[in-house]
Amino acid sequence: MALDDLYQEIILDHYRTPRHRSADLDGHDVHVHHSNPLCGDELDLRLRVADDKVDGLAYDGDGCSISMASASAMSEAVIGRTLSDADDLAEVFRLMMHGEGLKREDDLLDGVAFQGVAKFPVRVKCALLGWMALKDAIATYRGGSQEHRVTHE
């Protein structure tokens, strides 16, 4: 279990050069706030929907390199996908992090790099934060709400 499994170059690249990281998103339809109170990670995710697709996504937050880099990789992987497809991809990522196999490897793009994080159980929830926020944003949007706050135990 090498440190490089956790901090792969791809992950560090997303950490240093985040994609779609912004405190706001023009014309967003839904905003969710997720936190891991035990470690203090906080994440805001804004989603704009058009034609039932992820038209725009922006995240911002305060958290470790794994949580922020994972949100960055997530944003690249899901923008342009239908909501159902993005939701399915989030589930694929969750299963991968729990060591339950890897599907849709090509669709996850850089998200695949987080496979190694599964070997560091205390950091799994860091990698999941952005993806869980995405799932929640989709569910919140579908439920007709615009705001949702979630605290992960």
């Binding site: 440190l3 956790l6 901090y7 560090l12 950490y15 035990l38 470690c39 203090g40 990670d41 906080e42 305060d62 958290g63 470790c64 390199s65 794994i66 560091f120 950091r123 860091c126």
Partner: protein
């Protein structure tokens, strides 16, 4: 004869776990504020208790029961002397948290009314915040907190103002911060609280101070002192509430059951005398005996010597960390103002990443909110990295800490 300085290498030989390696490197254990390591004499005493004596206490007439009771009560006596308490006022609990809960439920809840103030501080561990919050709705008292200054000390002007109302009935404060190391002027504050309201009681959270500073309840001017065995070389599962016997006498029990009674009928119960009134059920006997051995160990080293050793470590560690680029050390700079728990930040690197990288260097530090979220929030962050030292840490380990911080910076800058 008490030594002037500690022979750290000799001390280290007493701690088996310090011989191990982590990720192929010698363990540098800098997490004693969370829990301390245990010396061989403590481990031996507990093993011998189970091998040679093991029996329940107080109720048996056979030889083992008498020996177990004797060992358990001898530990109580040692612990009482260690902090200047009356042995009858030394209640064994599970930990500091339980000790504070006991006071909140058994002293504060039935006594306090809407006009009263329970005064805690923003520096506290959650253990000295949440129990008071739990009983507050029923008792109806005003729960107030002494705010912090920019340098993470208690704001004494704000303290004076709250105390001047004369309504403070409980003042509850940590003697030493588990996050920023600040040593509070407990006795000075206690005397102000008493001057403003002679019915007030003073509760001291000694979880961090008792393991690291010479402690005397009288000098602290504390009515109650709460601390944990596992942070002072003892086992987990044993804590202490040391307090005034007259106050404990007046209090209702916290937990009910066996041991704490003198007579039980189906209609009612008369309670045992203190401290047994507060020790319902079979107590942590081997753990109490282990804590007694830990106190012996600390006495043999000498608490003055423990403190002097930690000051020496601080004199090296604080300037060394301060001199590093992008590193901010929280809390006081002067060693005399602080204990050996050092929280720091590295600009641009999250504490969890710091903790993970340092672990790979063999350096065990803690990252997070340290169960003191209100305090950590005032540092402008949700988390800090904390290195905390004890009697078995060496000056070389300060170098290891500094090297690990530099390695962390290099790792993320590569």
């Amino acid at each position: 004869m008490v030594n002037e300085v500690v022979d750290v290498e000799a001390v280290r030989k007493d701690f088996p776990v310090l011989q191990r390696k982590v990720h192929g490197r010698p363990l540098v254990y800098l997490d004693s504020a969370a829990t301390s390591q245990k010396p061989q004499p403590v481990l031996d005493v507990m093993t011998r208790f189970y091998e040679d004596v093991n029996s329940n206490v107080h109720r048996g007439v056979h030889a083992l029961a008498e020996e177990a009771t004797e060992a358990y009560e001898a530990a109580r006596g040692k612990i009482a002397r260690f902090v200047g308490a009356d042995p009858r006022g030394v209640v064994f609990t599970k930990n500091t948290t339980e000790s504070i809960n006991l006071l909140a439920y058994s002293w504060a809840r039935p006594r306090l009314r809407e006009d009263d103030i329970v005064l805690s501080t923003e520096m506290e561990h959650h253990a000295n915040i949440v129990p008071w919050q739990l009983v507050q709705p029923e008792a109806g008292f005003d729960l107030r907190y002494v705010p912090l200054t920019d340098s993470s000390r208690l704001d004494m002007a704000a303290f004076d103002e709250i105390v001047s109302t004369g309504r403070v009935k409980v003042f509850t404060v940590t003697a030493m911060s588990n996050v920023v190391g600040v040593i509070n002027p407990v006795a000075e504050m206690a005397s102000k609280v008493r001057a403003a309201n002679r019915d007030a009681i003073v509760v001291v959270d000694g979880a961090q101070s008792v393991p690291h500073l010479p402690t005397d309840m009288l000098a602290l001017d504390a009515d109650f002192l709460c601390f944990s065995g596992h942070k002072m070389l003892g086992p987990t599962g044993i804590g202490v509430l040391a307090g005034r016997v007259d106050l404990l006498d007046e209090m209702q029990p916290f937990l009910g059951g066996g041991e704490m009674i003198s007579n039980v009928t189906l209609e009612g119960t008369t309670f045992n005398e203190v401290p047994y009134k507060f020790e319902a059920g079979t107590p942590p006997i081997a753990q109490a005996v282990g804590l007694g051995a830990a106190v012996d160990y600390l006495n043999e080293v000498g608490m003055d010597v423990v403190r002097r050793h930690e000051v020496e470590l601080l004199e090296k560690a604080i300037p060394a960390l301060h001199s590093l680029g992008r590193v901010t050390v929280h809390g006081p700079v002067a060693p005399e103002d602080r204990g050996a728990a050092i929280s720091f930040a590295i600009d641009g690197i999250h504490p969890h990443d710091i903790g993970t990288i340092m672990d790979r260097e063999g350096v065990a530090v803690r990252a997070g909110h340290h169960c003191a979220k209100p305090l950590v929030r005032t540092l402008g962050s949700a988390a800090t990295t904390r290195a905390s030292f004890y009697i078995y840490n060496t000056l070389d380990e300060v170098d290891a800490l500094v090297d690990a911080v530099e390695a962390t910076k290099r790792f993320f800058d590569r």
